[in-house]
């Protein structure tokens, strides 16, 4: 029914993504007002096995779709599954993570069911009988609040680390395996594999703590210092564009407008001036710490805590201090 909400249970490597529990929270906000139910769909290898991990979160139904054509991600295959489910069950709302997969899949699936989509939302609420989504625009320089019109299915992608994850409340959830209904000719672009980032650290978009370095790092080997601090938190290392362009760090860890948008609990900027394009990528971090030798660096206008000093002195001291605390 149009009051019901479907959560896309994104999986990577057979593992359910952390953002899925956050999506359930968002779905509850909507379903709580519409009086609808919440279902989830898991697509790809390991769907049935992962379904157990979100049972007990107040879902009505979990659909699992496994098919050899869906082992690797494809926009058209996954959009086909989503569109047929939305078409058949008449969901009014579909929630997905604003992840690489969600951002690729959402618009295509929304177009297929003639819906509407709001990308990269940081908050949803229900007001005056309508969903209201809040999303950053102009690279985070402003926000808009936007509502759907016309009674079409509403797809919403939600930026990870924004909503509190749903907690287990027990109850019964029915799980049903669904045929994919996909044929090979329908999939014209398909993932053939994933080359993981070296280093084994979490991705900057998924880490709770990020230690980032800028041009001031001087050379690639100095990033070791940032890795030592990040590893104490199980965190990620990030970089400014200047650091990436200078070859100190690899592009996949660049934070900012032409890099990744991150949203950690703690962001430590070391020798980063705080250019507007860098801020575009990390401004929503819950706590920002700046370490910079220039007291007038713009990063201090956005940071919550700062030390004016030489990062080569400050960072190792901070690492030692944090290590002591965590012992």
């Amino acid at each position: 029914m149009a009051n019901d909400v479907l959560v896309f249970g994104e999986m990577r490597g057979g593992e359910l993504k952390k953002v899925v529990r956050e999506l359930v929270s968002a779905a509850k906000i909507v379903a709580g007002e519409t009086g609808g139910s919440i279902d989830a769909v898991l697509v790809g290898a390991g769907a049935a096995a992962s379904a157990g991990r979100i049972k007990g979160f107040g879902l009505r139904h979990i659909y699992t779709v496994e098919d050899e054509l869906l082992v690797n991600y494809s926009t058209e295959g996954y959009a086909g599954v989503l569109a047929s489910l939305v078409g058949e069950k008449g969901y009014g709302y579909v929630f997905m993570g604003a992840t690489a997969m969600g951002r690729d899949l959402g618009p295509r699936a929304a177009a297929r069911v003639d819906g509407v989509m709001f990308s990269d939302c940081v908050d949803v609420r229900f007001e005056g009988g309508s969903l209201v989504a809040r999303r950053p625009v102009y690279s985070g320089k402003l926000f808009v609040e936007i509502s759907p019109e016309g009674g079409r299915p509403v797809f919403v992608s939600i930026r990870p680390n924004n909503m509190a994850p749903a907690v287990e409340i027990g109850g019964t959830t029915e799980t049903t395996a669904r045929p994919s209904g996909i044929s090979r000719e329908k999939i014209r672009a398909v993932a053939t594999g994933i080359v993981p980032l070296a280093g084994g650290r979490p991705d900057v978009t998924e880490a709770d703590v990020i230690v980032s370095g800028g041009r001031a790092m001087k050379e690639a080997s100095n990033f070791r210092m940032l890795e030592d601090l990040a590893d104490l938190f199980g965190g990620a290392v990030g970089a400014s564009r200047a650091a990436v362009d200078a070859g100190f760090a690899v592009q996949p860890i660049q934070v900012g407008q032409t890099g990744k948008v991150v949203n950690p609990k703690l962001y430590i900027a070391c020798g980063i001036s705080g250019a507007i394009q860098h801020l575009a990528g990390m401004r929503t971090s819950k706590v920002i710490v700046a370490i910079n030798k220039d007291p007038n660096a713009p990063i201090f206008e956005k940071a919550h805590y700062g030390i004016v000093g030489d990062l080569f002195e400050v960072v190792p001291l901070l690492t030692a201090e944090v290590r002591k605390m965590l012992q």
């Binding site: 990308s119 201090f300 030390i307």
Partner: protein, 263 residues
């Protein structure tokens, strides 16, 4: 090949963006507009492909936007694109990605195409939707956030890498396809002086919705922006200082643990 590159006109990344008096959008006075930075990677990739094929392939810019978009279209022509289609119609102001995608689909179908390059997202509305909707309308495959693009010798398929969390996803697609481009794919060239001179003579075909055979505003009436909001005022930065750096660092760590509760 007929290579299409999409171009959106957006405020410069450095621009200060303020909400207008009526609260219905942004103030455009004094704002400099540029080619959407991600679209520059698309233009470059289109030009590189044309140069590699060296078989008389053509790169055509397609842009939907106001009158003033001519300026950024000329820049793309100066970079080396052959010609352009500019969809310009008052009905397109404040349009949503569905409208833009419908209109672009019509314009591109009328042109004919073998491949489409675009940016990963517009840095104005930050929707990253036009490419996916357009792919659906044109019934072609899509690959988003490409950082590697290799066309097969027979131009019937391509191998790509696209950036995802924690790594790079390898993708294979058949042609024609739409490819959205990310940083790392290439280094966009600057327009050369001869390029700028040549661009003045290149053709920009201006089309209204009526010219494209479109009645009304397709895809409209899906959403409504209720409110534009400035960023919440950030608190003051607490600069932690002490005679000895070690003491300042110790105090910072204490604050992060006891006040901010992040350690």
């Amino acid at each position: 090949m007929k290579i299409i590159v999409l171009l959106k006109r957006v405020p410069d990344t450095e621009a200060k963006i303020l909400i207008n008096q009526e609260g219905t959008g942004i103030r455009e006075d004094g704002v400099k507009f540029v080619i959407n930075p991600h679209d520059e990677y698309g233009i470059e990739e289109g030009l590189k492909l044309k140069e590699k094929l060296a078989d008389g392939s053509k790169v055509t810019v397609v842009c939907a936007g106001p009158e003033e978009s001519t300026e950024v279209i000329r820049t793309a022509l100066a970079m080396g694109a052959d010609d352009a289609v500019h969809v310009c119609d008052p009905a397109l102001s404040n349009s949503n990605p569905f409208t833009i995608a419908e209109v672009l689909a019509k314009a591109i179908s009328a042109e004919g195409f073998d491949i489409i390059f675009c940016g990963k997202q517009g840095i104005d509305d930050d929707m990253a939707q036009v490419q996916g909707i357009l792919a659906e309308k044109l019934d072609i495959p899509q690959v988003n956030n490409a950082t590697v693009f290799e066309m097969a010798g027979d131009c019937r398929s391509a191998k790509l890498s696209r950036r995802i969390e924690g790594g790079d996803e390898k993708v294979e697609t058949s042609m024609p396809a739409i490819i959205s481009c990310d940083k790392g794919l290439n280094e966009p060239r600057y327009a050369s002086l001869p390029g700028i001179m040549k661009a003045k003579k290149k053709e920009i075909r201006k089309k209204s919705l009526a010219d494209l055979g479109i009645e009304g505003i397709p895809g409209a009436g899906r959403s409504r922006i209720l409110k534009w909001l400035p960023l919440p005022k950030g608190g003051e930065c607490r600069i932690v200082a002490a005679e000895e750096t070690a003491d300042a660092v110790r105090e910072l760590a204490r604050l992060l643990r006891e006040e901010a509760k992040v350690i």
